[in-house]
Amino acid sequence: MSKPEELKYTKTHEYIHPGAETIVGISDHAQHEMGDVVFVELPRVGQKLEKEKPCAVVESVKSAFDIYSPVSGEVTAVNDAVTGEPALLNQSPLENGWLFKLKPSNPAEADALMDWAAYQEFVKQAAH
């Protein structure tokens, strides 16, 4: 399971796991704020994503949320388990509830994202 400290975060609450394969999902804070997730729409394998552009949809009991790609790149895999069982996003956002994997077109983009400490501070600031 990914530890929160190993991930990088966006201001829109997506995370990436910058390992051999870049895994994208939403943070534990995000799933908590959304409430029970009831529907997930993922990009297609092979789809080219642009940094900060909408690439997926997560719908909860409250609302539908666009998911923005943390970095640019090409989708290499999607997590079909979450489309069948959207509750995985609530139960296990960092492990079984990941959304998709991608091959970054500009690996330097990930460096600009927040680390765990910065993200925690960002969440605290937003909630003050």
């Binding site: 009831v38 719908e59 009991v61 609302s63 003050h128």
Partner: protein, 481 residues
Amino acid sequence: MICAVTDNKLSIEKSDPGRRGLHAKNPLRAKANVPANLRRKAAPRLPELSEFDVVRHFTRLSRLNFSVDTHFYPLGSCTMKYNPRFNEEAAALEGFSGLHPLAHDVCAQGTLELIHDLSARLVELCGLDAITLQPAAGAHSEFTGLLLAKAYFENKGEARTEIVVPDSAHGTNPATASMMGFTTVNIASKPDGRLDVAELKKHIGPKTAVLMLTVPNTLGIFESNIEEICRVVHEAGALVYMDGANLNALIGMVKPGDLGIDMMHLNFHKTFSTPHGGGGPGAGAIVCRAHLAPFLPVPTVKKEGGKFASDFGDGKSIGKVKAFFGNTGVLVKAYAYMLAHSADELGDIARYSIINANYIRALLKDLYPSYSSEYCMHECVLTPGKDMLDKGLKTLDVAKGLIDRGFHAPTIYFPLIVHEAIMIEPTETESKETLDEFAAAMKDVHDSGVADPQSLKDAPVTLPVKRLDEVQAARQPNLRW
């Protein structure tokens, strides 16, 4: 309670070939001048039923409906109050209903006078200076309001690009901003649900065009810092737009203009008792201060020498936002409602709506805790208690359980900042008996759910269709038979 249902067939499934309501002596035939390639090859597939079959079919369906005329309908933020029948009578008067939209002003004096007088009364009620009655409803009014703001800043030679919206706002506020090409700046509310003035100061500046603020807010709490909020916004050169969806809590008691706002909208189907949605077309209004008045949609109505006439302004108007004078039939209903209440009685609307919401809140406080410990305004935001949440019972289950007990569900999962929100707006037109029955049903939902959680997870069980997969129904609707 709704009637028992044994017959779930569609009319097309009941069809019996050859059965007719009427037997025409000379059935219509395709005219020879319809080209052959445009004629149907086969008869359309329509239900073949007798007149009596059709009457029973639709009467049965209509009895399955939940409506404000059949059920308590505590949908928060929607003000589902009684729609007095005299409104309908007034709108049906031939002088109003029979008027041709293109009739010349001299032939439309009654309708023009009504628009003129309704405008004056609403301007007075809101404590502002000018009004348009053209918008077709609330969101259209918001759009019109931001058009006014845009024209106002363009006229001053200022380019402002941002709309500030608190996170408790109605979804239509950021949607309107986005539709108008503005950037939405979202600000977090304080733990008590109010706008955080310190946070507002951080996000407001020379780029800010408008703060859109709902008063009272969607948590049913009055923005007690409203005067300071307006001052901060005005010091930055921006405008305050009040979302008037919750005016039922203020009507006749508070003039929003006195709070310092620049403009607001009215929803006639909420505060002014005209029908919602399927009851007919809607109507809204933007009421504003003098500095925005030159930009209002035209025509407005002016009075000259005892006669009423269309006024097309001096060329600064944003133009029309709706044909003619808007949906005037709805305006007649709102006018009838205004005339039926004295100034004091308008204040009673707000007072009783506040008392009713607090009564429900007090009756349910041990089972469904309120988001806020304060008294609420015209609506209260509750959540299922810990004993329900611990058994996996959610707000959705409460809503479905209420349907089985003969109540329309409240608004659920809104406002977004409250987890498992149940937003209840009883309105002033419900009796104490109805509120007591509703509270008893909420208690029964709680008690039976805690005793047997699955029974509530299965709700509703009294309707033709049980618990639906609402997401799939919306995402992949099956509309064929």
